[in-house]
Amino acid sequence: MTTSADDRAISLRPPSKVMRLERMGCFHQTRLSFMRSLLRLLADQGWHFSRDRWEVDARGVGLATYRATGPERCYSLVCLAHELPPEKRSDRVIATAWDATFTLFDGIPGQDDIQRLEKQIPLQEAGHCSQTELILARANRSVRLFEHVVQALASGKQPDRERIEQVGYLMRTTAVYGNGKFGISDRERIAQRPEFSAPFHCELLAVWLIRWFTVEIAEHLARSAGGDGAVKMNPDLRRRLGVGNSTGLGMAPFLVLHPALIHRWIMARETALLRVRRLEWCREHVRERFADLVLRMQAGVRKWHTVNKRQRARIEGLKEGLDSLYGHVMSGALDRAYPWDGMIRWSEQHLTIEGQELLVTLVIEPHADLVDDLSAQMSVDENEYLAIDGSMPLARLKDLIGRNYQWALAIDYQEKDQSSRFWYYSEEKLEPRVGERYEEPGADKEHPLAYGRDVKHLARHLDLFMSRHGDSVPAARFLRFHPEHRHSVRRVQITSVLDYAEIRDNLIGADMVPVDLLRCKLSFFGASCFDPRSDRWVRINMYQHAPFPDEFDWFRDDDWIYPRLA
């Protein structure tokens, strides 16, 4: 006789475990990640793709447009290729010139639109777009790879596979803007469209089309240089190219300032895990598929390159962990009752956190029918959580703080190490940065990302206020005297109903590693090949191994992200 899932106490992993920076910084993509769900949606809806215009000269300067056509609407990626002087080449957000600039246009641009876009899009932040532009982006060629690929193709050869795997992309986006930035369309205007109802699908459609352009411009330059002797890239090699991205601190405030959205993302992932763990038995074909996925992942991890010491150590641990995992599977771990739950419990004893989180990805993967519906639950209107319950008695507010912010109350923010950082926006292109509070100016312009500290401050003031006015006083009255606590009161009320809304770590402590925040968000995008370049920014790859739009009609492996690598 076997126990039930309830008997085994299989429940959602608690936020105290999941919402820690160290663990969030180990998240991997899952089948719920937005690149994955976007390509599934495009396939399900029968979208098709074409290149409408190619007016690029032999130097690689000019215009190209690509069209994505769906059941109700179509979109155009307008690509503008430029000549970039070496002294202006920078992948920082503060750069002012790029190899290529892009916009995703709502529909098919007319000649008037093109003329306008040719003026505005290369200016990026300094220009101004209109509501027909949905995305604004730019990219630079990879110094390490682009020329090599062009030269090889021009001479009639395929580029070196190892070099392609080492870098993984021909161009790297340095910004992909959506949601009303610099005059482009507000997300609200397109959020009801099925293709864009999930978060970041619009941005990621643009990136997927940009990937197509990066290969076509390399092939074009090869043809210009090599004439008839030039060749196109072999499809298998081409698929090993994604789009690079260097992601800096801009993503960190997003995670903190969208608590309801983050809750939805994490809740979907944790619910998927829970559903799998509650399965009583594992069918034979699923077991085989899972073992195959582990093998594929082993091969993928062997090609995961980074110069970052911390990440390199994690990858080494991961390699060992995957060996152990494969052995565990082969020893019959999936033949027992509640095999997935057993495996997750096993991982907590035998794998590093990086390994545990990769296992979450892997156990979810073979269960499409069980989890894919969760993709539809990953959007939310943050405005629904803006209102403060002003009638809430202060005692209740204090109780909620005690319940959800013990981690923050335990930190002594008077200690320099616990408050040594501050988050700010630079006047320079509004680049988000982290400063050293006790060493540089600007802390008086700190942005509100230190919710742990602020909620602890709120708790102290609540005690004082309640000692004078009683603990049944409503929050509204307290806030009239202390409007400086308004953001914290709202936050406490949000976290009382949304378990995964708060990152339960000190975001201004000396030992905080910002890239952990970035990796969490990027994993939900579906990024791979995390390569931290410092504690504040990370290189990634997007859509590596994914089908290209021009092969989408026949190449639709949903598990493209786990390629069979030689």
Binding site: D91, D186, R187, A387, G390, R433, P483, H487, P514
Partner: protein
């Protein structure tokens, strides 16, 4: 120049913070102004004028009475940037009694906060000042009465109650999601206030603050 709703929200949020409002209030200022523009009302103009007035000491924060109720002060009208969120916090108390207080500066801005907060279509909210009547909930708006007082710089009183108007969900004006023309001088003024939330860029923080060096060419 046309501005997206997101640009409007973010710029007004930072402008309010730049003028000394707490972040929690500034967040709601951004939302309130966005809401006003969705209904074709000049929230940016109101915000710029009001922040200018605040900057010049022309109105006060609005001091709560000993019972915590909002009230005006002989020194000048209270700012809608603190009163508006306060009204929102008290919406559940409208069942017992309407809110009536004043004087208040820029009452339209206060209505913006309420428009954002009044989510229930069953219980629309009515905001009145100087003969202006606004019936609102999040996705609908109807304005009647003295339109010439819509943009009043201040009002001796403002009254918030449940609206008795029925059928607002069918007859009220719908929001428009799209960009909107903002006068360049108003926008420049708001950006000027928002600028106070940014840290000056230096060679040192350009290098260390983002941790990427000056170039990360790849």
């Amino acid at each position: 120049m046309k501005r997206s709703l997101n640009e409007i929200e973010q710029t007004c949020r930072k402008a309010a913070k730049g003028c000394g409002m707490p972040w929690g209030i500034a967040d709601e200022v951004g939302k309130a102004v966005r809401w006003l523009h969705m209904f074709g009302l000049d929230g940016c103009g109101c915000t710029a004028r009001h922040l200018r007035e605040l900057d010049h000491g022309g109105c006060i924060a609005g001091v709560p009475g000993s019972d915590g109720s909002l009230r005006g002060w002989p020194g000048g009208p209270m700012t809608p940037m603190l009163a508006g969120p306060g009204f929102c916090d008290d919406l559940s108390g409208l069942d017992e009694a309407p809110i009536e207080c004043g004087p208040i500066a820029c009452p339209l801005l206060a209505a913006g906060f309420l428009g954002q907060a009044a989510l229930s279509p069953e219980r629309p909210v009515q905001v009145c000042w100087q003969g202006v009547e606004m019936h609102l909930f999040c996705r609908r708006l109807r304005i009647s009465g003295r339109h010439e007082c819509l943009y009043a710089e201040s009002s001796p009183t403002i009254r918030i109650s449940h609206s008795l108007l029925r059928g607002l969900e069918k007859t009220g004006k719908c929001p428009v999601i799209g960009d909107t023309d903002i006068a360049p001088d108003i926008w420049d003024e708001l950006e000027g206030y928002a600028y106070w939330t940014y840290v000056e860029s230096t060679d040192a923080n350009r290098l260390s603050g983002a941790g990427a060096g000056l170039a990360d060419n790849d």
